[in-house]
């Protein structure tokens, strides 16, 4: 059967190493595979490796699958794995950062490789998902041994051509128009899908995408605007599937500056006071946001971590404090702000589901307890500059814990003290040495039970500190023609090899 699907984004490139863009990575995963892969429940399952074992605390040995062929007919082997590791380390590669805990990948024999890590790494397989395997011979033939290097104005063949081992082959590609894939009949796995040809057409405009679903121009869409859900549900031939995404949306606060930016408070920073942070927490009605802004489609969060993330402390997934404007006002008064104060509020307007509307609604909620907000709503290109420069006071941000789907990445990016290597999204510069001390331990604790306890303790610290104010997990909303079985996962990735089209 043939299948046409759409999203608001297009893959940036077909090269699995040249970009670090979650949609691109997800798209390319239908063509290229790694040693292991996530299934729709985000569990690790064997892919190009059949088994693995720990040979020393920092060295793992992977047995590769035999008889696997690349799309061009060449056989897959250890050389390709080593080659791909080398390619990931070329200057142009942008996935390097996702594999930064790996030290080396060595060939043992034709079908065995060893992976050495910098330190004991419980999440190695989660990281390895990012190491998509390219064919050495093909890359050498087509001068694609290095990833495209933007700095040197270089493009390479792999950008618009692909040769993987995955369930689908690239047939043609027109950027922003359509990318056509065909089923790989020689795929090593037993296909659960019944697709022969897949057409992907990105449609940027929400209304147009929805119209195309209704008029039958496309079979499925993986970015359905929430407001269109009722309309789509009313179409008898369509079906809407909705579930929580890994991504949690939360509010950050500047907790490092001595004087808050964009504020009428001079000479001090109210957010350094836990009472003020709690006051903000209690002023925001996440249930109201869910009902009125998110149209019922959100999962109010108790902490920053989605329950679907590996290692998530589910026990802590309940609100720390209830919504209570009176309590909030009392806290503010206690902290010395009986009349509240004014603060800048930085939000993106094209990044998260209803990001702008959420901020507008929160601005109204905060106003009710006396915190007047100066809204600074911007497109992502600008908003991200602000985050990087920590040019923020009260800001919205979100994190999905991807690509590893593990709590560690999120905590490292969001909560850990900002340094050159950590806290990249910690624009408010929250910093608690007690929390930071947990980080290396979580990173290298192999024993799952011990690791879970460490995580729970660390998250409790951060949660009690109100380092951030968690809002909710936003929804993944897909729609498709009835009779098409899609397997939706919280990482919002279209796994084409699990799609089944009935009839036809």
């Amino acid at each position: 059967a043939s299948f046409t699907w759409s999203s608001n984004l297009d893959a940036l490139s077909m090269d699995p190493h040249s970009t670090n863009n979650s949609f691109t990575n997800a798209f390319v995963s239908n063509i290229y595979e790694s040693l292991v892969r996530f299934n729709e429940k985000l569990e690790i399952e064997p892919a190009l490796a059949t088994s693995w074992k720990l040979v020393s605390p920092t060295v793992w040995r992977y047995t590769l699958r035999q008889g696997v062929k690349f799309h061009n007919g060449e056989s897959f082997g250890a050389d390709d794995v080593v080659f791909s590791w080398q390619r990931v380390n070329t200057p142009g590669s942008l996935v390097k950062g996702n594999l930064s805990d790996l030290k080396d990948v060595r060939k043992v024999d034709a079908y065995t490789v060893e992976v050495e890590t910098n330190s004991p790494l419980p999440t190695l397989n989660n990281e390895l998902v990012q190491l998509l395997i390219m064919n050495k011979g093909w890359s050498e033939q087509n001068r694609a041994v290095e990833a495209s290097d933007l700095g040197h104005q270089k493009e390479n063949f792999a950008n618009r051509n692909a040769n993987g081992t995955g369930p689908f082959k690239l047939v043609s590609r027109e950027v922003d128009t359509r990318t056509v894939l065909a089923a790989n009949t020689g795929w090593w796995d037993k296909p659960k899908h019944n697709l022969t040809q897949v057409m992907f057409t990105p449609i940027k405009s929400d209304a147009t995408r929805t119209s195309s679903l209704i008029s039958g121009g496309i079979d499925a869409s993986i970015s359905v605007p929430l407001q269109d859900v009722p309309r789509l549900k009313s179409v008898p031939t369509l079906e809407v599937v909705q579930g929580p995404e890994l991504r949690t949306i939360f509010m950050g606060m500047d907790q490092s500056r001595d004087e808050l930016l964009y504020s009428d408070v001079k000479g001090k920073n109210p957010f350094k006071d836990l009472r003020v942070r709690k006051a903000v927490y209690q002023a925001i009605d996440v249930e109201a946001l869910k009902r009125s802004v998110m149209r019922g489609a959100s999962w109010p969060a108790g902490n920053l971590l989605s329950p679907y993330l590996h290692g998530s402390p589910v026990a802590l997934n309940k609100r720390l404090l209830p919504f209570n404007p009176e309590a909030s006002k009392a806290l503010l008064k206690e902290a010395g702000y009986p009349n509240g104060f004014t603060v800048g509020m930085q939000c993106p307007n094209d990044r998260y589901v209803y990001d702008e509307a959420l901020c507008l609604a929160m601005s109204s909620m905060l106003a009710k307890v006396g915190i007047k907000t100066n809204l600074m709503i911007e497109p992502t290109v600008k908003w991200s500059v602000r985050l990087n420069a920590a040019d923020v006071s009260l800001y919205m941000v979100g994190h999905a814990g991807l690509p590893m789907a593990d709590v560690y990445g999120l905590l490292k990016d969001v909560v850990a003290t900002r340094t050159g290597k950590e806290g990249s999204l910690n624009a408010g510069k929250y910093s608690n040495p007690k929390f930071d001390a947990y980080m290396p331990r979580i990173a290298s604790e192999i024993d799952p039970a011990k690791r879970a306890r460490l995580i729970e303790e660390a998250v409790a610290i951060e949660r009690d500190d109100v380092s951030h104010i968690p809002l909710h997990q936003q929804p993944v909303t897909w729609a498709a023609r009835k009779g098409i079985a899609l397997s939706q996962a919280p990482d919002n990735q279209m796994r084409l090899w699990l799609v089944h089209v009935n009839g036809k």
Binding site: V229, S292, E356, L360, M365, T373, M376
Partner: protein, 304 residues
């Protein structure tokens, strides 16, 4: 004052206005719009800028006459629970402000440059007209980006945030000055050689004074025509900019932002959020244009 009033009443313009139903109806509608915009704080049941007064629970209520509507909100509410009547009144205010302010600004810039180019000629003329060419190859959207970015680097942070409305105005104005400059330049080149200008040159009057006292009043009618028409265009441009996320912030609603936000929920049945401001905008642009159209014909001596 009385004299001007009387002159106006007896003038051909007034007469021709009376004879064109489109013209006086649109003039009436414009006056009505103007009144609504000016009196918005008095007319609006709710102040949409007072965020503390909003209740999220009231979000997306349909108009009062439909099922589920509340009498409190005649035209329903938007996604933030703002009363549609109020946001539309305030939106009209912002849109008109953007339209009029940007038109005035581009008019002042364009007319001044056009006068200078037309009167001075030669190298100065050349420079100004090249600048016009450059300007023409920049779509308003990119101009808006440029101005926005520029103001960010030049202005102190806090100031910039409050100026987004001004930035939109400046961006639209910059995109539109060229047509004034070109028209005025052409007319100035003709007017400056007329003998009434020569007559004042003979008494030794300086250039600037001649330009503004004598030439300017005579080029006002084509300028007036462009201005009326471009108010409508500016209102639309603002709407388009806001469609691209570059317009006025959503907190100060313009008709454009309202339509843009409402446009997103058109399929979900919440038609009033986009249709009502849309109709208001169409009415505004339509009457401005109809009025401008009539003015063009009425002021064109060759068509009399």
């Amino acid at each position: 004052m009385m004299l001007t009033l009387r002159r106006w009443r007896e003038s051909d313009l007034a007469w021709s206005l009376g004879r064109s139903p489109e013209a006086w109806i649109s003039a009436l509608v414009l006056l009505l719009y103007l009144a609504m915009a000016l009196l918005a704080p008095l007319l609006a049941p709710q102040n949409p800028f007072d965020v503390a007064a909003l209740d999220l629970l009231d979000a997306r209520l349909p108009p009062a006459w439909t099922e589920g509507g509340q009498l409190k909100y005649l035209f329903g509410t938007d996604g933030q629970g703002r009363d549609m009547v109020s946001v539309m009144l305030y939106g009209l205010r912002v849109s008109l402000l953007v339209g009029v302010a940007s038109t005035l600004l581009s008019l002042v810039v364009g007319v001044t440059l056009g006068l200078i180019a037309g009167y001075a000629g030669g190298r100065i003329d050349n420079i100004i007209m090249r600048a016009a060419d450059v300007q023409l190859s920049f779509p308003a959207i990119l101009v808006a980006l440029l101005i926005d970015g520029l103001s960010r680097t030049v202005l102190p942070r806090a100031v910039h945030e409050q100026l987004s409305l001004l930035i939109v105005v400046v961006a639209i104005a910059l995109a539109n000055w060229v047509q004034y400059a070109r028209t005025v330049r052409g007319v100035t080149m003709i007017e400056k050689d007329k003998d009434y200008v020569n007559a004042v040159r003979l008494i030794g009057m300086g250039r600037a004074r001649i330009l503004f006292r004598h030439v300017l009043p005579n080029i006002l009618s084509p300028v007036l025509v462009i201005a009326t028409l471009s108010i409508g265009l500016a209102v639309l441009t603002e709407a388009t900019l806001s469609f691209l996320g570059l317009g006025v912030p959503a907190t100060s609603p313009s008709l454009g932002t309202l339509i843009r936000l409402g446009n997103e929920v058109l399929f979900s049945g919440e038609w009033w959020i986009t249709v009502l401001p849309g109709l208001l905008l169409i009415g505004l642009v339509l009457s401005v244009n109809l009025f401008g159209d009539w003015l063009r014909d009425a002021l064109n001596p060759r068509l009399k």
